[in-house]
Amino acid sequence: MDKILIDSLSLQYADGTESLRNVSLAIPEKAITVLFGPAGGGKSTLLRCLNRLNDLTEVRASSGKVLIDGENVLDPKTDVIALRRKVGMVFARPVVLPMSIRGNLTYGLELAGETRRSRLDEAVERSLRLAAIWDEVKDRLDEPAIALSGGQQQRVCLARVLALQPEIVLLDEPTSGLDPISTGKVEAALQELKKDYTIILVPHSVQQAGRTADHAAFFLQGELVEFQPGHGIFTNPRDKRTEDYVTGRFG
């Protein structure tokens, strides 16, 4: 089943950069879909369309549709706040908020109006376990989150997103600043998560793309060059440009 249908999406920033050109893509549910390609390809821009984070940047023109569960989320009438709870996002650099670890975890829920202490505690433990960091922080939940290591912070950010029980999780180069061990932990957590969530991952390397992808899409300068379900794109690319990139002959 396809969770997200992107239909001829184009986007141009205020300075005239054409960051997405007529992109159409169907993203299957409960799997990891990887968007990869060289810098400036429009991967981040695409992710930021899915949760409407681009509303807050200066966009000159955009067209096309993004259907999530059949509803066009680019419609001006969409409840953006509700959308962002349903479509969580983890950024390249971990951005823990200036509060305690627990505070980071419960912030989104409190915004959503949850006040029952027992529910909050439950959500904190559940999501920290899902993000594979519960054991490391369970004794220091009330310490400032910024005191954690970068790898721990990134998993707290993932947990923070999971606490809201989203249906879709977007991850934009979530391990670009992490060491191999932390990276391994995050990737392992993602493999668990895909059983229940639709995951879209922008990896920080082709190797990571290959390791994690159930399906993969290759982006080049705002254009979707190739999408293949499964691992085909790495073993049997159809487009010459994709082949050059995955075999490292790009340039």
Partner: protein
Amino acid sequence: MQKPLHWREIIITRLIQASGYSAILFVAAIFLFLMREGLPALGEVKFSDLLAVRWYPIEAYFGILPLITGSLIITIGAMLIAFPLGIATAVYISEIAPRWVREILKPLVELLAGLPSVMLGFLGILVVSPFLRTALDLPTGLSAFAGSLLLGGIAVPTIVSIAEDALDAVPRSYREGAWALGATKWQTIWRVTLPAARSGVLTAIMLGIGRAIGETMAVMMVTGNAPVLAITPGSLFAPARTMTATIAAEMGEVASGSTHYHVLFFIGIVLFMISLAVNIAASSVVFRAKKRAERILS
């Protein structure tokens, strides 16, 4: 091999060092001078008389309490006006205003911060106090409240300018992190951006207080200058007199070396102590916040 002598380096280092030390030297000299001229007051007037409620130097009543309370009530009033207004304006400029509005407002605020306070004093005498008199039905508009309004107005640009810089320095990623969790713009400002800019915002507030306590001309022009004890809420709407205004008004006509002269310097010492306390409080708060941030970031 001999180490080459970098004469230029040495001279420049020494010059910078000298300017650093001279700053310390000036503060020390001012302090010593204040002490030399002000401390004799304690020998000439009984301490209990200094803390009396009557200031009438011609008949040797040297109670400075009305002046201290006058300064305090006007400053506190000014801060109650300037904090919310200053922080709200900073938030508006940095977080809410569209870009073209920001580009007009920022330099405008900076311009206001540099406006000589005498000009605001004019405004106070000609506009604010007559307005207060009729609006609040007071016997005279020259009151502590008029002083607070003006001082508040003087402190606002300082607070806005510094707080806005602090808010602006909060990384965009913090805000996006909160937005992505479903926070509204306002929730993000209140729970994420302002706390993250806390130490800069506190500095802004403290510098605002500093500016208000030290201000002389504008308050002298609009407060009515009556040295009455200001401890009831009603005092806010009665004439008052500040420490700075007293020194400015009386220093010129006092005989050097007289008791009155020494007491005026003693007021100077009190003022010095108060601003010192505010500064120490400010820097310890900021320093603590910084140290924590440094520990965490390293």
